[in-house]
Amino acid sequence: MSILEGLHLAINGLTANRLRSILTMLGILIGVAAVILLVGVGNGATVAVQQQIQSLGSNLLSVFPSNTRSTGGVQQGFGTGSTLTMDDVKALNNPQTSPDVVAAIPNATGRAQITYGNQNWNSTLTGTTQDFPSVRNYQLASGAFFTAADVDAANKVAVLGQTVVDNLFAGGDPIGQVIKINRISFRVIGVLAPKGASGLNNQDDLVVTPITAAWDYLLGGRGRNVQQIYVEASSAQANTAATAEVTQVLMDRHHISDPTQADFQILSQQDVLSSATQSTGVLTLMLGAIAGISLVVGGIGIMNIMLVTVTERTREIGIRKAIGARRRDILLQFLIESMFLSGVGGALGILVGVVLAALLPSLVSSLPAPIISSPSVIAAFGISVAIGLFFGLYPANRAARLRPIEALRYE
């Protein structure tokens, strides 16, 4: 008996009990659709997180002060030390000692209460140097960024993020306007292009000033302290080399010889990316596993129905055996039937899953758009057919092993 012949028989058998076949298929359909959809949501989340992290710059290194240790040995929080200085930044910008570093910028942050006219807005203040747009991967939407001269002179100039502009200027042009940051007047000289507000934090809600001006006028009481240094490596591949150079330069400057005693820590976006990818990968796996359970339930449904079918058709099996069907012919007939059920259910499930995935963003806007990859579709279809094979094997084998005289006598 050929496969084609078996398929013909299977369709014939399945159409004899249409409702039952459709309900059985539905079990697999729901399972496969759930797998496709949930894995798609997981993948969507992974990609969203990756994009978010990459928008910070995949060649970005962050240098933090190490934990401070009180005299009693009590660990303070991460980054609580104040060991980084502006001179460290300058040293890192020396191409002789750190050739893989394109630029290093300091970061001094605080909250900023900004007012313009009768509008006010609370935002994040970032005090830094002229290399900020390049290192932090920001474009300018209008105006200009401040220069090295502005930093040296501690000029009271500010560059705003789009969110701040939206909240203070309501459509007006902010360039050249004077705003007050923590009651000190600053002139707006540029607006950063939006990076897109995504998930964790809004990267467009910030106001950037020369670090010197921030120290002098805005972050009073904290001294000339650099909370963080951002280092731009020449490429994502140069991250390792740049990390080594930064480590060496800072250890030399801080007179530390043992790397385990370093008073700073370097975190690359690559590290952040890989750990985030890992956790979203676990999420995807979990979602897939939960959906997989419904697929197994669907498989049990197939087995159940196939057992009923075999019992119902005992006499037919007897007839087929009497006219010359071998065990494998009967086995094949029922296996093809169960695999056809699961295969068609799976194919329809893929269709439903893809359609639901396309509709999902408009139904639930808080979820990242699901991403359906062709390997997951192929795998889902393969698994559904395999489920038909696995759960069909026992009933089919039962049919194949019926003795012809007993099967013929069955009423």
């Binding site: 012949e5 014939n12 037919e316 009497a322 006219i323 010359g324 065990r327 005289i405 013929l408």
Partner: protein
Amino acid sequence: MITLEGITKVYRAGEFEVAALRGISLHIPEGQFVAIMGPSGSGKSTLMNVIGCLDQPTRGRYILDGYDVSNLSEDQLAWIRNRKIGFVFQSFNLIPRVRALHNVEMPLIYAGDNRQRRERAMAALTSVGLQSRASHLPNELSGGQQQRVAVARALVTDPAILLADEPTGNLDSESSLEIMKLLRDLNQQGRTIVLITHEPDIAAFAQRVVRLRDGVVLSDEIHPVALNEMVP
């Protein structure tokens, strides 16, 4: 064509052993039309299962068309049933939901014999006069027509013997007569036929009647040809 030597069949029912056949020896030459008769419990169904290779004898030898089939595996028996035996059952045993022509084709499908399959099935259906019913489902046919489809199915592989188990048991007398005339015609074309029945007037179509009782051959007589020709 068929040689049975000392066929014994013992069934176990719990602790008891029931001997359905106790040493049956029988030779059926090619082209013969044999009726096997006997009351229920005489072992004729068991004998039919053995001859039809649906069951294997406990002891004894069975040669069918030159093949010793007493000790074959299940799949080998399936092959013998497919190639050497054409079955006609009391309850027709057509496969439901499958059209008449496809039912007739079925043995060829299992034979893996695809040469002009459809044409050969159609020819078999034509030989029983049902070419116009080829695309009907079994439940759209009368009992007599269903049985003729079953005969066509039995013939399609050109088997060595036609084994008919109470072929008229579920038919009215008119259809019964039709089926028996069909079998007689086939026999006259040279087909070996083994007929199992308990009705004397059905057995009368055969040339030879073997009577069984309690698992042994009670009588074995050749009928006068005259009886065979009483029916026009």
